[in-house]
């Protein structure tokens, strides 16, 4: 009995000793701390880099959404309030003619063969619409404002967006139905305030956007246009002799030919077909 007890006690003490040895071997605290520390360090470095990068990517994505690209040809599609319409390009009228534009202000259609200078010009007086529309065809953005509704600080904000900013022009447009209207070829946005963030979004999306204006590379310098004394805006509605929206002539400057354009779409108005050929 005693010997059995002794044996048992000895056995248990051996087991205890053994287990203590095993415990000591399986819990190397130094190694555990080192391992956790290295993991934590590596994890936080990665976490820092990841958060920095996603912040930067988010910022760039916010900016890039207004930059035209092959996958985002017309960023203005995402701007609330932009209206679009397709117009055939390159139809010209004479300086003495008027165009019966379909919209106010127009942003496409026949236009004078001389374009208004759009090298960052602030026009203080309203300019003949037929010249302004031609500049849109060259990739410019035209900021028009109602002179009765926009002045002082608001007007200064518009000026800063146009003065010296190439491919941009600003002019008053008497009778405009909203304080401010932005035009690029085939696009328009009307806003109430010069502080509206959509103004800059419109300019970034559409000014010289190679996917949306017809004559890529065309100039905003205009040697035959008098910037300091431009042809004046005409407030009266155009008469019956005005060139219709599907009229105008195609100038072929290379050969010197001037061909009359037959409206491809059937005329919807007018019993007498208006002459599209300029009277010389």
């Amino acid at each position: 009995m005693t010997s059995g007890k002794k044996t048992k006690a000895a056995r248990s003490s051996v087991a205890a000793a053994r287990s203590s040895v095993v415990t000591k071997k399986s819990k190397p605290w130094g190694t555990i701390i080192a391992v956790v520390a290295v993991l934590a360090l590596a994890g936080s470095v990665f976490g820092y880099a990841y958060s920095k990068i996603s912040e930067k990517n988010a910022k760039e994505a916010a900016l890039a959404q207004w930059v035209p690209s092959d996958t985002n040809k017309d960023p203005s599609d995402k701007i609330q309030g932009v209206v679009k319409k397709e117009y055939p390009a390159g139809k010209h009228v004479q300086p003495t003619q008027r165009v019966a534009y379909d919209l106010t202000p127009p942003y496409g259609g026949p236009h004078d063969s001389t374009w208004a200078s759009c090298m960052g010009v602030v026009y203080t007086k309203a300019v003949r619409t037929e010249n302004m529309v031609h500049s849109l065809e060259h990739g410019a953005v035209w900021i028009a404002y109602n002179p009765d509704q926009v002045s002082g600080e608001a007007l200064d904000k518009l000026k800063s967006r146009a003065d010296g900013q190439q491919f941009t022009m600003l002019s008053p447009y008497p009778g405009l139905d909203k304080p401010i209207s932005l035009q690029s070829w085939g696009h328009q946005l009307k806003v109430d305030s010069a502080d509206d963030e959509r103004i800059d979004q419109f300019v970034k999306s559409l000014r010289r956007n190679q996917y949306t204006y017809p004559e890529v590379g065309a100039s905003c310098d205009s040697s035959t246009f008098d910037v300091d004394n431009p042809p004046a805006f005409v407030a009266e509605k155009p008469g019956t002799d005005a060139v219709p929206m599907d009229g105008g002539v195609v100038d072929n400057q290379e050969t010197g030919n001037t061909a009359s354009v037959n409206p491809s779409a059937p005329a919807t108005t007018g019993s007498a077909a208006p002459s599209t050929q300029p009277s010389s």
Binding site: P28, A42, I53
Partner: protein, 224 residues
């Protein structure tokens, strides 16, 4: 038996340490990969805030005003030397603008500074000196650029008065663009950009000398 247990413990510990070491190295590698963009990984297109993009956008705009003034001189001047100079400036700069806008198009970047300010790409050195937040921004009017009022005055003149004022504005325009060309020639990442910038610097420097001579011959000097 105790040796085997010990052996097992050591093996397990080693496995854990090695695994953690591998994970840590992978995490650090991933972090470095996020922070460093290897050249060529994005088809070689320079970043939005790079010297290459900033130089191309701003120099194109700077050049285009040179074209505007040269066009005026070709239309208005009766002086053969002025008309010849104007044609040279207009045709050269227009062609160079085409190069720069072509690059920008390839890089998927806007043709002109989207926020209307300029020169932020040249602020690298000064922003390091200042420290931090004010590094962005840029200026509204680039050095040498004529204001709308100056352009209007140029259009209003004629005869020798026009020729002299054209030379004065164009000389200041060339001189203002020189530091931009200098910076592009030394800091742009792409050789094609550095080469064009360097060429502009050289040709415009000699053209500036020529314009000084033309001014002297007309009894005038540079703008104060």
């Amino acid at each position: 038996m105790s040796d085997v247990g010990q052996q097992r413990g050591v093996t397990a510990t080693r496995a854990v340490v090695v695994t953690v070491a591998v994970v840590a190295v992978l995490l650090l590698g991933a972090a470095v990969g996020l922070l460093i963009r290897l050249p060529g990984s994005d088809g070689g297109a320079p970043a939005k805030d790079s010297v290459d993009v900033g130089f191309s956008q701003d120099m194109a705009a700077h050049h285009l005003q040179g074209v505007t003034m040269a066009n005026l001189a070709r239309d208005k001047s009766a002086d053969t030397a002025i008309r010849q100079l104007a044609f040279d400036i207009e045709s050269t700069q227009q062609e160079q603008v085409g190069r720069m806008k072509g690059w920008l198009s390839l890089w998927g970047m806007p043709e002109q500074s989207p926020d209307g300010t300029h020169m932020a790409w040249m602020e690298e050195s000064s922003s390091h000196a200042h420290g931090s937040a004010e590094a962005t921004g840029g200026v509204d009017l680039m050095p040498g650029m004529a204001t709308s009022a100056e352009l209007s005055k140029l259009r209003s003149l004629s005869g020798t008065e026009f020729d002299v004022y054209f030379l004065q504005l164009m000389l200041r325009h060339h001189q203002g663009g020189a530091p931009m060309a200098q910076y592009g020639a030394t800091h742009a990442s792409l050789a094609v950009v550095r080469t064009l910038a360097d060429n502009m610097l050289k040709s415009q420097t000699s053209e500036s000398e020529y314009m000084k001579q033309l001014l002297t011959a007309r009894g005038a000097g540079p703008l104060p």
